[in-house]
Amino acid sequence: MHDTGANVLLSLSGVNSFYGESHILHDINLSVREGELVTLLGRNGAGKTTILKSIMGLVGRRSGSITVAGRETCHLPTHRIARLGIGYCPEERGIFSSLNVEENLLLPPMVKDGGMTLAEIYDMFPNLLERRNSVGTRLSGGEQQMLAMARILRTGARLLLLDEITEGLAPVIVQALGRLTGQLKEKGFTIILVEQNFRFAAEVADRHYIIENGRVVEMIDRKDVETSAAVFNRHLGV
């Protein structure tokens, strides 16, 4: 099992989440080790985004246990959870229209030492440097996605929660995001990636969790991906 061992960075056990009266997540168990890249796969509405939101404390109510670096976070307010070193990139990207690109980039405060500097980030995303004085929401979809990711790299967060980063983007941008995700993994970031694009996910991930109806139904290791085509088809095929 993956929920033991000293280097587990994030672990959810028996997590249930609710929005108002609706029970969205049922008894979720999953864990991520330091430096791992894990995906959450599943159809629309399966509960992938809600898992990320539960980790951040952004759902109405949650129960069970969520630990970050060994620390129980289920009772903590959202901003305290973020301060444990989590960077969150939401599905809708969350670029602020009242802030320009550089203000968007500088918005998230430092949560840990050792984040990337602004110069390193502009080096990695030259487009953002060029457009740093534009209003955040005037950027193209791909640029906004880059900005949403770039701004959490500055904060020193070591655990990144990336929600559907390839959604609605052109293939060439998706390729660039694939390279970027690979680079981040090489730099030692721990990443949870919510994806619909299975091909994108399979290229970069160490493990896949398949989510269905608010439950974890399968966990597939990278080495078993080839032989698990039937499982993927059953849960993800349309």
Partner: protein, 301 residues
């Protein structure tokens, strides 16, 4: 009708003076509405409280402390009143307003309206409704200044200058600083800002405290001009809400510019057609809402 340059200019300057108060008050309302989504009907009552802190600090605090010679002077009141009223605001936010963010605007409006009535009722019970003069105006601000085209009371000039400084200082803080970018982002998407590690609930509390502190500051500045009365806020707040609606809900620059401009429009109307001077702002409101429903500086949602 005898309209001279002198009368026009003097009414414009007096209008600018009133407009400066409108601007500070509507600025506080705009900041609060932006981040808290609360239409703060208690704003007028908190403005009144600010003036009373100055008044009572000057007349009652000394005897109360057993030092009849002690007066809380005007300059100290400019700092103490916003702190006291800001503190009251923080308690209000923590204990009551906080429960209303998830529900309709209407509940926040009703709650703050009720709070305003309570404060106003308590003060009406103990103080003269037609006003008590504030005698703490500093020596330095007595007299008149020659503006070249007219003689203008020094105190009124001071009140214009200090109000504008506060307004543009606040604008600068919100639009040009790091702290301000948290506020702007928090206005747009508080959950995400909190997910970045910023203590948004604390920021909301302090913002409310700051907004009502501005109202108290305006109350102190107003005390030597208008007499201090339990209903001074109730009279002011209706006009100020019209200003906020004309400027556009939640727009900072809109609140400042509209406040100043409407004060001057009111002043001009006093020269041209005096009977309309107390209603002209509301005619403007109707006109603006017909043409731009979101207000002059507001964004359509």
């Amino acid at each position: 009708m005898d309209v001279t340059f002198q009368t026009v200019m003097s009414q414009l300057m007096l209008g600018l003076n009133n407009g400066a108060f409108y601007a500070v008050l509507s600025l506080g309302l705009a900041v609060i509405f932006g981040l808290l989504n609360i239409i703060n009907f208690a704003h007028g009552a908190l403005y009144m409280l600010g003036a009373f802190v100055a008044l009572l600090g000057y007349t009652e605090l000394g005897p109360l402390l057993g030092m009849p010679e002690f007066h809380l002077n005007y300059w100290a009141a400019l700092i103490v009143a916003p702190l006291v009223v800001g503190g009251i605001g923080i308690i209000l936010e923590r204990t009551m307003l906080r429960r209303l963010y998830r529900v309709d605007h209407l509940y926040g409006l009703l709650l703050t309206f009720g709070v305003a009535l309570i404060f106003q009722g308590i003060f009406t019970n103990y103080f003269n409704v037609s006003g008590t003069p504030y005698d703490g105006k500093p020596e330095l601000l007595n007299g008149v200044v020659n503006l070249g085209f007219m003689m203008f009371p020094t105190y009124r000039l001071w009140s214009i200058v200090v109000s504008l400084t506060i307004c543009f200082g606040t604008w600068f803080m919100i639009e040009r600083t790091r702290l301000g970018s948290y506020l702007r982002a928090g206005t747009e998407n508080p959950h995400l800002v909190q997910a970045f590690g910023i203590n948004v609930p604390l920021m909301v509390t302090l913002t409310y405290g700051y907004g009502v502190g501005l109202a108290a500051f305006a109350g102190v500045v107003a005390a030597p001009i208008y007499s201090v009365s339990p209903v001074m806020g109730a009279e002011m707040i209706i006009t100020v809400f019209a200003v906020v609606v004309i400027g556009g809900m939640g727009s900072i620059m809109g609140a400042i510019v509209t406040g100043l401009a409407l004060g001057m429009v009111e002043g001009l109307t006093k020269v041209i057609y005096p009977p309309a001077s107390s209603t002209v702002i509301f005619f403007m409101m109707v006109l603006v809402l017909l043409v731009k429903p979101a207000g002059l500086f507001g964004k359509e949602q």
